[in-house]
């Protein structure tokens, strides 16, 4: 079997010793969309010991242009992504212990799995969950790697508890994302590039080569031929509520969670975000590609087939056309990031 990794072992920073370490480690991949596909595949091929992958979504035709684990038949069958991912990953490598969870990654699930993980790999599509991952990582002393992409752009950043500034240090407030794959589109190479950064950082962590970790936040635009690294050595805040001297892990607290309610008899789910009121003007601009928007000072509404979406200024959102809370949250995060 060692022939399988012969070219990886020849790479000196890994070597025989590093390969042995990779085989002992457990990575939790959060999300099995575009980044989750690419990262999970690379790590399984690299011979990680155990890989757990969680996703709440199922495969659709519109995923196939960028989500490399899936085929047309997965989309036709509408398989849950975690299941379809596991199927493919096991054909790629029967020796890796793969656990697939068809569920939403929330604070409870992450908290349960963090103690047993050597790395949390962010392959999600929204900041609600990223701030929870950040707090879980810090509370349980497990590193995580932020990655995200939209259009032809993307970014990656490695968080090592006790060492680097955390996501909460960097953004200060909850960021209002400028566009999502569902509003601004995405090309596959932007995914591959973020995954290449993330997988490399993952391999450094797994072989315990901490000195080689990328210390800055990297961001790029493939179509615009740009790349930029931000040095973050001044970003760590002593009073950071997540990683400072007296951490309170704010995003693990109940009052800071997203609340979802089914509005009985109305075929509607209400979602309330604790982090921000909605800037309706912003949202309208970010979502302009999706069709006619109606906006007044209180709300923004539009059709997003087969749903109708209403964003209220006070931070509430109605998803009309479903009674399924998970479905509603999925749509919400797709649109708002």
């Amino acid at each position: 079997m060692s022939d399988r990794y012969s070219r990886q072992i020849l790479f000196k920073p890994i070597g025989e010793a590093g390969q042995g370490k990779i085989a002992e480690k457990h990575v939790v991949v959060i999300g099995a969309g575009a980044l989750g596909s690419a990262n999970a595949e690379s790590l399984v091929r690299a011979g990680v010991g155990r890989l757990t992958i969680i996703d709440r979504d199922y495969v659709e035709m519109s995923n196939l242009h960028r989500q490399q684990l899936y085929t047309e038949s997965d989309a036709v069958e509408g398989l849950p992504k975690a299941v379809a991912a596991k199927n493919r990953l096991e054909k790629i490598h029967s020796g890796v212990h793969i656990t697939a969870c068809v569920a939403e990654a929330d604070a409870e699930w992450l908290s349960k799995h963090a103690n047993d993980a050597d790395l949390l790999l962010d392959c999600t599509d929204n900041f609600d969950i990223r701030f929870i991952i950040n707090d879980i990582s810090l509370k349980h002393h497990v590193p995580w790697i932020y990655g995200s992409c939209v259009g032809s752009t993307g970014m990656s950043y490695t968080i090592l508890p006790g060492k680097t500034p955390c996501l909460n240090c960097l953004t200060g407030s909850f960021p209002m994302s400028g566009g999502t794959c569902d509003s601004s589109g995405i090309i596959a190479p932007a995914v591959q590039m973020v995954a290449a950064y993330q997988t490399t950082e993952a391999l450094k962590l797994l072989v315990e080569d901490y000195d080689s970790l990328r210390s800055g936040l990297i961001t790029f635009d493939l179509w615009g031929n740009q790349s930029f690294t931000m040095n973050v050595s001044k970003a760590k805040r002593e009073d950071c509520p997540s990683c400072g001297e007296n951490p309170v892990y704010p995003y693990l607290q109940f009052e800071n969670r997203i609340k979802t309610t089914v509005l009985c008899g109305r075929d509607t789910v209400q979602i309330r975000s604790p982090h921000h009121t909605h800037s309706l003007h912003e949202l309208e601009q970010n979502l302009e590609g999706l069709g006619d928007m109606k906006r007044n000072p209180y709300l923004l509404s539009f059709h997003y087939e087969p749903y109708r979406i209403v964003f209220f200024h006070d931070g509430r959102t109605f998803i009309h056309g479903t009674n399924d809370m998970n479905e509603a949250k999925k749509i919400y995060h797709r649109l708002i990031g």
């Binding site: 407030s173 209002m176 601004s184 961001t219 690294t229 931000m230």
Partner: protein
């Protein structure tokens, strides 16, 4: 003169990749406020690098500095 580079959707919103601010000195916070007003740029939660260094709101930007505005993107 301060050079400002825009990333991700800020480029499209402003209609350009970069701009120059004809000012000798101002804080990160003041720069953000000015750009929000003048160009209607959404800068809440946007990270600011001054000469490639992450910078806090009260950091002072001087003539000759190069600023990058980096909005965290969300997709995945």
């Amino acid at each position: 003169m301060i050079k400002v580079f825009l990333f991700a959707h800020l480029q499209e919103r402003a209609g350009r990749q970069e701009m120059t601010i004809d000012k000798g000195e101002l804080t990160v916070k003041e720069l953000k406020e000015r750009l929000m007003e003048e160009y209607d740029l959404p800068l809440d939660g946007v990270m600011v690098a001054v000469n490639e260094q992450y910078s806090l709101e009260d950091e002072v930007i001087s003539s000759g500095d190069v600023v990058a505005l980096i909005p965290p993107v969300s997709g995945g």
